[in-house]
Every structure is written in C-alpha cells, then in structure tokens.
C-alpha cells in the first residue's frame, strides 16, 4: 500500500519564515535530513538547506531544531491562526 503522506494535511497559508539555518554553525551531521518526516531538508555539496516551499509542507513538529546540537537551526511556530490544522489528531 503506497500512501503519499505529504498530501494528507490541511493548512491555512501564512506569511513569513519560521525556520532558518545558519550555515556557519552547521556541522553537516545530517540529522535534520534523516529526521524530517516531510523530507524538507536537502543538501547541495556541503550546504544544508530547507526547501523553498517548506511553509506549505512543514508539520511544525520542531524535530529539526531538536536534533541540531550545533544550534544552526532556528525554529519558531508560524503566526497565530496560520499553518497546519490537525483535524483528526
């Protein structure tokens, strides 16, 4: 059974970034790439980055910042009333 889990969400679009990476702090441990269930972290050469349209996919779990021991990832929640809406949680 193939489930496209990336399509199984509702959200209210918001504006503004709520996740940032400071590449000067990143040690390329790649934990964020492994842990993100929506596969929003990518690596090009030696640079880890988050995909441009992450605000349309992020589940706001905060796992990326939790595993980032080098404090490179800054995570806060999107503006009140926007972002993921969990209807059957």
């Amino acid at each position: 059974m193939k489930i496209d889990h990336r399509k199984l969400q509702s959200r209210i679009p918001g504006t503004g970034d709520f996740i940032k990476i400071d590449n000067s702090r990143c040690t390329q441990c790649d934990r964020c790439l492994v842990i993100c269930v929506m596969n929003l972290w990518k690596k090009r050469g030696d640079t880890v980055y988050i995909v441009d349209d992450y605000t349309s996919h992020c589940l706001e779990c905060g796992a990326c910042a939790q595993v980032c021991e080098s404090d490179a990832i800054e995570f806060r929640f999107p503006a009140g009333g926007t972002g993921i809406v969990i209807e059957q949680g």
């Binding site: 059974m1 842990i35 910042a65 939790q66 809406v85 059957q88």
Partner: protein, 468 residues
C-alpha cells in the same frame, strides 16, 4: 499593559485545566492558543486513561454529542511480529480482577480526538471565567531586571502575570526563561501517525470491544493503534538517538504488514491524515520552574515514563501548578525558591508516584519495545516459543516440553543480561531493596515460605539414596 494573576501559554489539556482551576480560585486568568481553536495544532495517542475520571469529576460529563470521535473499550490487543515481519501471535487483554475502581473495571481507555477533547475542556475554563485568546502566538517573555514578569504576543501586546508554560514539547516558555534550550536527545521522542477513516459499524463488528492494539515488533519500534468512533490512528515513535532512517520508513513497515493490510481491507479503511509531533519521554522531569514561571504537561517533561501517556499528567501537573501559584501569589512571593512547592505538590500526586521509578520504567521501555533489532528480535521468538509451543500437536507433549525447554536455553545469553540490567533494577525500585533481597536470596525466600521448604524436604527425603 494587561494585568493578570495567571498567564497561561497553551490551551491544550494542561493549559485549559490550569485556566479552569485558576479561575475557580478567583484568580484573573488568561490562556493563549496559537491555533484558531484549541486542538488545532495537536495530535497524540489520545487515549484517556480511567485515572482521569477518578481525579477530575467533570470527566463524567464527556459525551459523544460534544466529542463525536469517542470510543471506549475494555480490551487491548497485543500483536507479536517476528524478524520476518510476520504476526506470530497475539494476546487480547481486559481489565483484570485486581483493578479496583470504575471506570477502570469497565474499560482501559476512552479514545477521543484532540480536535474534540481540547475545545471541550477549554470551555470549562472559559465557563469558570478564564479568558481565552485564540489565533495568538506568544513569541516572548516579558522581563524586568532580568526576571520574567509576563509574556508578549506576536503583535507586541504585553500580558503581566505569573507564567504557566503549557506550550508543549517545543516550549518557548522553557527556552526563554532559561530552563532549557532543548531536550536531551534521550529525553524526547518523535512520534508520527496516520489517521484512517472507516465506518463505525465495521469497527464494532471486526474489533468488538477492543479500544487499542500494540504491535510489538522485531522490525520497527512498538507501534500503537487506537480506535475511535469511525476511524483509527496507527503510529509509532522513538527517541531522537534511535532513528537511522526516515521515521516514515518505519511507520510504512507497520502499514505494509500483511496482517495490517488484511485488517485495513476488512475495515475498508482509508488513510486520511498524517501527523507528527515531539513527545517528551524521560525518567525524571527537571527544571520545572523558575522565578515567576512554572512548566506543566509536555512542556515540563511529564508524560508517563513507561509508555508516555501525556494528557493525564498534563492535567494533574496543571492542578499542582495552580495550587502552588495561588499560594505564591497570596504570599506575595513568586520566586523560584517559593515555587519549589510545585515540585513537592506534583511529586505527591499519582504522577509523582510513576516518576519514583521513572528512570527504571523509561529504561526498560527503551531497552525492549523501542529496541526492535537489539531486543525484540530475541524477545518475540522466545515469548512465542512458550505461548505457541503449548498449543502444538507436532510431537507427544513430553517431547514438545523438552524441545521448548531446549529452545529457550538459546535465548538465555540475551534474556539473562536483560533481566539483570532492566528487570531487577525496576523490581528493586518498585518493591524496595529489602523485599528484593528476600526474593533473590533463596534462604530468606524459604524462611518466608515454610510450605515450600517442607515440600523440598520431602522431595529430597523421598529421593533414592546415592549408591556408595
């Protein structure tokens, strides 16, 4: 400036309970929710344990008009999955004869979506007079002379009062008050789950009174399945140190078990929503408060150390926090020192009782169900050798008993260290060292049980004498 006695960040089960208790004590209270309504941002296992009904009278009022997702059930099913991903057996359990009170005698959990439960609970707080502000993200703590005196929302609006951090695993309050930058990687898990929709009558027919199932496995960390009125969750989690592949890989392993696929077909179930969240899970909550700040529920690290039940501890610690806050406010002292009464208060609750053996409980869960390759790979076949071996007609029964005994011997190199490292420390913590010593010292054990001594004596006396 908006002046309050109590300012609560978060309107989940902890935040709403705190708001209700505070308002009932006559404290001027506000609580904030970043979603458009409480529950909008929450997913969880959502099993409400019977202890909630013993602790909170209003739980008796929960009903399926307000919360249509409700399903309660008396049975839990435990599937055993071997190294090849096959279900090799299952056991259904119901409340045992030693369970002492209602509703625990009637059912093990009542399952209810957070999108139903959280707004239902928040209404008790607003009815009691607490003010709820939704669609509002609290972005910072208001500080004076380096000390927290309130919170600031995303629009710069300030709210003054004693701050209750009920803002979950990723707690801004914990971070900005200096209580914690982030969790240790073995203090928090990532939990992900699918919601499947299906008809209520199918669940009634196929699952009967089963409210939940645990899929104990050698190929993925123990997964849970929770049945609602016309849907179910299937999910799993593990500590942040465990994941070697994307967590979705492991969840899809559960979904794609032949047995699960058959169940999905029979229930005519369809995947509807995918959710993920961090779930704090630790042996000992620490740094629970500081000057003018108290952390409750997930924000304070209070989910049960054994299996991470979160709603009950959130509501119990909320009550303890408001008790402590009310005393602090009336004494005119909300310093960290004074607020240490919070630790005394929650430790005196049933949540505190769980954490008395917290490190041992967490450790055994980490070592067994959440170590599928290391532990469940021998535990499942060993367990099933005993269970499955008894119901077997392949040989005469005495031959089978000897075969099973021989087979069990090969698991001893794994089972014995596990018992020494995990089971004995847990038993010592639960029973106390004195009783434990009695159990492990044959002479003391005999002294406590004269009839065994008698039987042993007779067995030896009756035994044929050694030949010279």
């Amino acid at each position: 400036m908006n002046e309050y006695d109590i300012v609560i960040v978060g309107a989940g089960p902890g935040g709403s309970t705190a708001a209700k208790e505070a308002a009932e004590k006559g404290l001027k209270t506000i609580f904030f929710e970043r979603g458009r309504k409480p529950g909008n941002k929450n997913s969880s296992g959502t099993g409400l344990g019977p202890r909630l009904w013993r602790e909170f009278d209003f739980m008796k009022e929960i009903n399926s008009d307000d919360c249509p997702s409700i399903r309660e059930g008396r049975a839990a099913r435990n599937y055993m999955i071997d190294n090849d991903g096959k279900v090799t057996g299952y056991i259904m359990t119901t409340p045992t004869a030693s369970v002492e009170y209602e509703p625990a005698k009637s059912w093990i959990t009542l399952n209810c979506y957070r999108s139903d439960f959280d707004p239902w609970l928040a209404k008790y707080a607003t009815d009691a007079g607490a003010e709820l502000k939704t669609s509002t993200l609290i972005t910072g703590l208001l500080k004076e002379d380096g000390k927290v005196v309130g919170v600031i929302d995303e629009k710069g609006e300030k709210y003054r009062g004693l701050v209750i951090g009920a803002d979950g695993a990723v707690s801004m309050v914990a971070q900005q008050s200096g209580l914690r930058k982030r969790w240790g990687q073995k203090q928090v898990t990532l939990t992900l789950q699918y919601d499947f929709e299906c008809s209520a009558s199918k669940i009634d027919d196929v699952m009967g009174d089963e409210a939940l199932a645990v899929w104990w496995s050698a190929t993925f960390p123990a997964a849970y399945q929770v049945f609602f009125n016309s849907s179910f969750h299937i999910g799993l989690g593990n500590w942040m140190t465990w994941w070697d592949k994307n967590p979705v890989h492991y969840l899809n392993k559960v979904i794609n078990l032949d047995y699960m696929q058959r169940l999905i077909r029979v229930l005519e179930a369809k995947p509807r929503e995918f959710q993920a969240h961090l779930l704090p899970w630790m042996g000992t909550p620490e740094n629970t408060h500081t000057d003018n700040v108290i952390l409750i529920g997930d924000a304070g690290g209070f989910p049960c150390p054994l299996e991470a039940e979160g709603i009950y501890p959130a509501m119990v610690t909320a009550r303890a926090a408001i008790d402590a806050a009310a005393e602090a406010i009336s004494a005119g002292d909300t310093s960290k020192d004074f607020l240490s009464i919070y630790d005394m208060k929650w430790k005196a609750t049933s949540v505190g009782e769980d954490f008395k053996s917290g490190p041992e409980l967490q450790s055994i869960w980490m070592a067994l169900p959440f170590s599928p390759r290391k532990s469940m790979s021998w535990f499942v076949p060993m367990f099933m050798e005993i269970l499955g071996g008894i119901i077997d007609w392949s040989e005469p029964h005495p031959v089978r008993i000897r075969q099973i005994a021989r087979s069990l011997k090969k698991y001893l190199p794994q089972a014995v260290p596990f018992i020494m490292q995990e089971v004995l420390p847990l038993l010592t913590s639960v029973l106390g060292e004195e009783k434990m010593e009695m159990l492990t010292d044959p002479a003391k054990l005999m002294a406590e049980m004269p009839e065994i001594q008698e039987a042993m004596m007779q067995a030896f006396m009756d035994a044929p004498k050694e030949e010279d």
